[in-house]
Symmetry: C2
Subunit: 452 residues, 2 copies
């Protein structure tokens, strides 16, 4: 069967869970025991010479099956569709998925259903980039501004960002992109590391990992805070004394506080010169973030990993709530909505520093930041991508960080493809790891089924 008439023949899903809660990697003030997971999908075609499209939603364990079910509900929109048409216009698919007249009620454009849309849309982008034989960042950077604008749903945005605004920003970003592409492939894109700062770590481990981070070339580290103020003061002091005054130290409360508490707590840590306070309060609280930002300056305010869609990002920018926008690759409706979010950030002059870690987020977000650098904001100043060094071994095209910089991926696609072996081992509950684990286990928490 020729490439021109290939169709999507299957949307396969996998409930993949890694037992990370046993190591306290990823522990923070709101998420003490995450089992990093992926609600994963593969788009297969009926042509032997066509690549597959891979996508996923990152979750932290329980409920990953519900997320998988939501992805499966979208199957009728892609199976049977022509591959060339889908890949030529992922934006049309994104619009169809978001506007399904019945599924929309379950959001709208937020939570499980919206993340499912994002995973399917991202899988189509993965497929499109593989077919174009380009890494996604380059496919986007090479694209005509007019086409990129056609990929964006401007609904609910026009009071802050019009199609004309977007076109002008993209045209400006288009200039000089060859030079920046060369810089990018040469030097990579700045990374910061959350490795030293998980709440579950001892001071000794924090100290050792912070030292290593600096030695490894990172110019910024991040510490989780918000559980106990005395602990946080001690940990911030420890970290600052290890890294010295030049390295940036961000702190992250993971939504732990109310507005007043966020202000008090952040001020109490101000002497250690945190660069930003991340997720000081509810990700839904635009006005709350604005109040915190006014009160804690010069500490910057950052949020985004739990921001549900472009409408909330729009308001965070309109209200002057944030200094740093932390987009997430699998929280919103896929690449198309993230293009809108990158454009909003560019319009308001706010740097984008994506959320990563988890399962495969480092792999995905680097494409978005690298596109932003090459062909939109056109600068890496004050831009940096989170890096956490775990679970990369499960990906075919893993994130690589050298001397504190993400190396630009050159393989075709969106780097979402997980290794067959990893999928087979960690599929829940029938994968090899989990069947062996269940056979061994004596006790589980009867309420939560937690793997402790």
């Amino acid at each position: 069967m020729s490439v021109q008439t290939a169709r999507i023949s299957a949307l396969e899903t996998y409930d993949i869970r890694f037992p990370t809660s046993r190591e306290l990697d990823g522990s923070d003030a709101m998420n003490p025991d995450p089992d990093y997971s992926a609600a994963y999908l593969v788009l297969r075609t009926d042509a032997s010479d066509e690549p597959e499209g891979h996508g996923f939603v990152f979750t932290i364990g329980r409920g990953n099956d519900i997320q998988v079910a939501a992805i499966e509900a979208l199957r009728p929109y892609v199976v049977g569709r022509r591959v060339d048409e889908l890949c030529a216009d992922p934006g049309a698919l994104a619009r169809d998925l978001n506007n399904d007249s019945q599924l929309r009620w379950l959001g709208p454009e937020k939570g499980i259903m919206h993340m499912a849309v994002g995973a399917v849309v991202n899988a189509v982008w993965d497929l499109a980039a593989k077919r174009a034989r380009k890494p996604l960042w380059k496919l986007l950077a090479d694209a005509e501004p007019e086409w990129l604008v056609s990929q964006i749903d401007f609904r609910y945005l026009s009071d802050a960002l019009t199609e004309q605004d977007a076109l002008e920003l993209l045209r400006r970003g288009h200039e000089g992109r060859q030079e920046r592409e060369w810089q990018l492939t040469e030097r990579g894109f700045p990374a910061y590391t959350t490795q030293p700062g998980w709440l579950g770590y001892s001071d000794e481990k924090l100290s050792r990992l912070a030292k290593e981070a600096v030695a490894d070339g990172f110019r910024q580290i991040k510490l989780k805070v918000g559980d106990d103020l005395d602990d946080d003061i001690r940990r911030c002091r420890t970290a600052r004394s290890v890294i010295g005054p030049e390295i940036r130290m961000a702190i992250d409360a993971n939504q732990r506080w109310d507005v007043d508490e966020a202000i008090t707590w952040t001020r109490a840590l101000a002497e250690f010169e945190p660069y930003w306070i991340e997720e000081p309060t509810s990700p839904d609280d635009v006005l709350g973030h604005a109040a915190v930002r006014r009160a804690v300056t010069p500490v910057k305010v950052a949020t985004g990993e739990h921001v549900q869609n472009r409408v909330v990002f729009k308001q965070l920018l309109q209200a002057g709530s944030i200094d740093i926008l932390q987009l997430d690759a699998t929280r919103v409706g896929g690449v198309n909505e993230n293009l809108a979010i990158l454009l909003l950030a560019a319009k308001f002059g706010v740097p984008v520093c994506p959320h990563a870690g988890g399962v495969g987020l480092c792999e995905l977000v680097r494409h978005l930041s690298m596109f932003d650098f090459v062909a939109l904001s056109a600068t890496a100043e004050d831009r940096t991508i989170e890096f956490v060094d775990h679970l990369h071994e499960h990906f075919v095209d893993p994130a690589v960080v050298r001397d504190g910089h993400y190396v630009a991926p050159l393989s075709p696609g969106f780097s979402a493809t997980m290794k067959d072996e990893s999928i087979a081992t960690y599929t829940y509950p029938e994968g090899r790891f989990w069947t062996a684990d269940l056979a061994q286990r004596v006790d589980t928490d009867p309420r939560t089924g937690a793997t402790v």
Copy 2:
């Protein structure tokens, strides 16, 4: 087994769907073909002398199965629990459910997972009210202010509503409640009707139904708008000419517009003196609603049926975005979060006019408004509950409207219980209606499976 030691023995779920899309009942600018549905649950106990607790999420068709799966994910939190303890403190359960350290990632507190929490929490309130042999509104109105405050999660609210604020509001509301309870049981609570105004109806049908509404004692009707301005002008003129100048006419755009479009369109209909414009734009757009409100006054701005949680309601009030708060019984995290929302509204002096219709929403929200009238805001002025006269026949304790007023329900519970016969008939896809339907059907839309 005695009442004291009874435990929850099962959480059973049902995917119930009514084929409403065939009649265009419920059609609006964003939801052209809803199949009104309920992701329904029953809490059973191991005691023969204990009632059951019923709860549900209203959806509009596809995806109802995902909503059911989300409810099932919460089963471990209730099965095996003591009935008396659960019913004595539904707030503790609500907190546990919202803060499940892994499920929380799927919201947080929004979308499918949050609605699932609401359904389970509401089922416990239904059980608690049945055990107390009171309708829920009276259980709440009779409760001590201190206990009601203990039922509320103030996280993310304290910059707008403190525990002390809540206690004072409830104590004030407590005064004179006997007199208001008497008024309520005598006269009922004002209703308005959306019956005449669905987009799919002809002008003739609109005209006839509007006339009937006035004859039936309604003092307010509502028209769906937002599909075509010329149509809306004609329909508003028709309705206004039928109902005269004294009856209030609300209009409802169901999120169809961007901010500027909402302003232009609403102004174009202003000559027909709409009382409020409902859902002019995205339910997530706090600042957008504020901009619309400033521009369209004296037309009031109303929203809420898709507002995801108390944090967004808080901001709608803080930013002066709304004149009318339209809470929904199954969109947020259950009675406990709706108590917080009622208190926020009371604090800001904004009247609550609940969203209803759908499946069972009229049955539920009347309890919340009646509690508000008897023991919180202490007034029915400018308060009114939406009424749509369909699907009530499936409920054991159906909503009854007389002379434009909801009659106060007197049966114990939250009125969530659906008739066994209705459940058996409309369970999807194995219920009697759907098996017969499927056997008859020749064509379905292969993409959506729509029942057209």
